[in-house]
Symmetry: C2
Subunit: 547 residues, 2 copies
């Protein structure tokens, strides 16, 4: 092993220990072909690696226990090292180093950190299982991640906030929404994280960290059903049980390429579920595929006592033929250009793919105004429910949600009343539209933002998102997000959902329609993967190695 390579490796370890970002950046080749991968995903290009490193905040103290060096070419070596962490556990690091004119540099790295007991950004507690469901039933084999606002017998509700958790007492009963799943044969895998008091759609949390985006490394997971979404997207659970007030199921579904259903308001009992704004609060589910979601919906919306489909109003027997799809034009205009374009392209395919399916446009009116009124009513209700707690626990909430409550405290009864009256207009409008049609729009105005986004920009994303998510909430309508779009993003190709909004109690029919649209318009996953892989040699092969 060349002495100067050894020195370069030692320098790198020192820079890592000191979190010396300029030195670390300089140790990696400053090229678009440089690679760095770990359990969270693969970063391609020096820029992506730099951005990641800026938010990592250093690595745990470690000592090199073993080093294996292999000469691959005169100017190219493979260094594989095993590290022991001061706090226990070991890690593995594989690096390909290349001799540049001035020094050795890393052109590719693969890192495995020490094994954590579990990811505390995703879960608060997990078990194998935490609760075993019925030994037989249509949901047998499904592992459920329960959002930490829903009562699980024997456990406290933490609501994404440690102070809240400290003041909570163990629940004496499962929430009916949990019990339904257990009775259907699903098991509870664990209690998963939520944004604080479910009052956010970003998925970040200042107390226990931000869960990973299972579809887009480096991106926010979406919230507030953040933990269940990350658990499902990463395969740690099969079903996420969560809530949706302003988009808390639809947004993480859109950001992480999942299926997510906000149910008709009042259809799933909210007993044992921490409320945020009862006029809009709903319970629903996340899944990786439409078939799983449909199993869950069929069971849970069929009174839970048998596996038969529900009554006519929630029956999914329509084949989608003759469905009127109505696009709210303002919603598409509110999207970023890439998402709007991907959505329009998808629409053309969808219209052509379903026989007899018609496509129309409609106006929902001023989305910004609706969203503002929605936020006013949501805030007033949230403050009535939680204001006393917020006031009694100064400093307990993170900055973003604390700010939201501070604003909420200022809403006057007159403002609330006026906003409610205006929302009655929106409700009538959107309900009229879905009386004989299904609204179809992008679930979110764009893909998941980077975890590095600053608070002001994040707040702007939230405002833009509520423009799209508020109408279904105001209409008390079921809304399904289906992972049908792929759009460009600074973090790479990213999923965005297509949202279907239907009449009250058409939840199951919506899922069935979503499955048919997906089957008709989505490139099958395996074919897409094959195409990607086949294209790789031509598209992506570069000689990033020795010159």
């Amino acid at each position: 092993m060349p002495a100067d390579l050894r020195a370069a490796l030692d320098d790198y370890e020192r820079a890592l220990a000191a979190d010396d970002l300029p030195a670390l950046d300089d140790a990696f080749a400053d090229e678009p072909t440089t690679l760095r991968g770990d359990a969270a995903g693969l970063l391609v290009g020096a820029d992506a690696i730099r951005a990641f490193r800026g938010t990592r905040g250093g690595v745990a103290p470690r000592t090199t226990r073993r080093l294996e060096a292999r000469r691959l070419a005169d100017d190219c070596w493979l260094l594989v090292s095993v590290h022991a962490y001061d706090g226990g556990g070991s890690g593995l690091q594989t690096q390909v180093w290349r001799r540049d004119p001035d020094r050795w540099r890393v052109v590719a790295a693969h890192v495995t950190g020490r094994t954590r007991a579990f990811d505390r950004t995703v879960w608060r507690t997990v078990g194998d299982p935490m609760y075993q469901g019925a030994y037989d039933g249509p949901l047998r084999g499904l592992r459920v991640a329960v959002k930490d606002v829903v009562a699980v017998k024997g456990y406290r509700v933490g609501a994404g906030n440690p102070t809240w958790l400290d003041g909570a007492t163990p629940e004496r009963h499962h929430a009916p929404a949990v019990l339904d799943l257990l009775q259907g044969g699903a098991s509870v895998r664990g209690i998963a994280r939520t944004d604080e008091l479910a009052y956010s759609v970003a998925g970040d949390n200042p107390h226990h960290g931000t869960p990973p985006n299972g579809a887009l490394p480096g991106a926010l997971p979406g919230g507030s059903t953040s933990g269940p979404a990350s658990a499902v997207a990463t395969g740690q659970a099969d079903v996420g049980l969560g809530t949706d007030t302003a988009g808390s199921l639809r947004v993480p579904a859109s950001y992480q390429g999942l299926w997510g259903l906000r149910t008709t308001h009042g259809l799933v009992p909210r007993q044992g579920v921490l409320p945020l704004a009862p006029s809009f609060d709903t319970v629903g589910w996340l899944a990786r595929d439409g078939a799983t979601l449909e199993r869950v919906v069929r069971w849970c919306l069929a009174d839970g006592d048998d596996a038969a489909p529900g009554d006519g109003s929630t029956d999914g027997s329509t084949d989608g033929a003759g469905t009127r799809l109505v696009v709210p034009v303002e919603a598409v205009e509110a999207c970023d250009p890439g998402t709007a374009e991907a959505f329009r392209a998808w629409l053309r395919t969808a219209a052509a793919a379903l026989p007899g399916c018609t496509l129309a446009e409609a106006s929902l009116g001023p989305l910004d105004a609706w969203a503002a009124d929605f936020r006013t009513v949501q805030a007033a209700e949230a403050w009535r429910l939680h204001g006393a707690w917020v006031r009694a626990h100064p400093g307990a909430l993170g900055a973003a949600v604390a700010g939201r409550f501070a604003t909420a405290a200022q809403v006057t009864p007159a403002q609330e009343r006026a906003a409610r009256e205006r929302l009655d207009g929106l409700r009538a409008r959107v309900r009229a539209l879905v009386a004989d049609a299904v609204l179809v729009l992008p679930t979110t105005p764009g893909p998941a933002p980077a975890r590095t986004l600053d608070p002001a920009a994040l707040d702007a994303v939230r405002a833009a998102t509520l423009r799209l998510t508020a109408p279904a909430a105001v209409g008390r309508l079921p809304a399904l997000s289906v992972p049908l779009l792929t759009v460009p993003s600074p973090l790479g190709p990213a999923p965005v959902g297509v949202c279907l909004v239907g009449a009250p109690r058409t939840d199951l029919a919506l899922v069935a329609l979503g499955r048919r649209l997906a089957a008709a318009t989505a490139v099958p996953a395996r074919a897409a993967a094959a195409a990607t892989a086949a294209a790789a040699p031509a598209d992506r092969t570069t000689t990033g190695g020795p010159r």
Copy 2:
């Protein structure tokens, strides 16, 4: 990317999907320099990789989502691929391929599988924390893995067996051993796995899998406190709370390079702890370092109501000077040659390092006979406690433990009585030896066996192990395993413990002595690591790359 390399990669993926071992073996260079690493550790050499593959049992179905290829030299390419698993989640694979005369082969691989919610071979359930301890106290910050034979309030005891778990009801109180730790400020991280009914020392479990050995990839973890040991060794917990009847704390400590204390019989209350053989059952702890173990012992053996050292009999104030170390000759002779040699070399250092410390030899008599009598009494007691359950649940136990109970059922009262009488002789003998000395011997006759060991060979290891562990159990004496030896093993350099056995209630003094011996004789970890790393270029660097 060369077409034949692409074909080789595709062949490899197909072989992986089919778990076609010959094809997989052939895809890797058949050389001692070939590398394969993952979260469990680094395998060096084609033989080690082959052995691992034989026990892996295939990989989960997956699709390649992305492939990055980099030419490193004419005959050497780096291929990095991202996989999506059918069951959700993604994985990352980095491979260095070399063109051999006949075909392309992998010379190095680094694999990251999908993220699991947690390792169910290590834990049954985990939380963040599962139970918060006192907010202040000498054990503050320590995360405890509780062996699944100890009562944790609200949870069932599973005893390493799913049928047992099914029949259990939630515990209404913490075991005192748990409560002590919580009151000292430690938190319960989770309930960790155990060998079935704690009736084994290997650490394997047929129901939920065998926990990893945190010090020696591919090796058994040791048991029956297997899960806590793996959790502590891998940094997923700081303290393991377990039990030791026949070596169940000492053996995993020895196998995984941990500190492990079997306490004086009766010193730690056994309320809320599933018994196996009450004449020998004890409660104790595992830790990665002596300082942590001493914190725990000082607190838990000081009546738990303050942090002061215990009474004189358990005081650790001796500085080790003047200590008489007595080596039971039969114990060393019962070890494998490498372990015996490492132990003797360590003894010479130890004698020289502690001023005034004297070294002597003594005879314990026929270890095989003692161990046989110990097993007879243990079996009789285990059958009295659990025989009815075992009979009522045919097929519930794995083969090894079921066989042990089948044998136990045959023990006659006369045999038990005779064995007890003979053990009285051993007890008197060993107690006389420790009256003014500390027994010192290897904790186990050798390092952790490979996970691939067949049942008959494993049973032989158990028998050989009990020869060394039974005397302290029969004597009802405290016994501390300190990670002081490194011995050769087929899986690489492996830890083996040095066991110190003292008079009753000298538990804390034993830990203090162990720490002084460790400080005087162990190569400090950082220095050892530095030496290893420094030696690497000369010792291990090989040109495994293109010829």
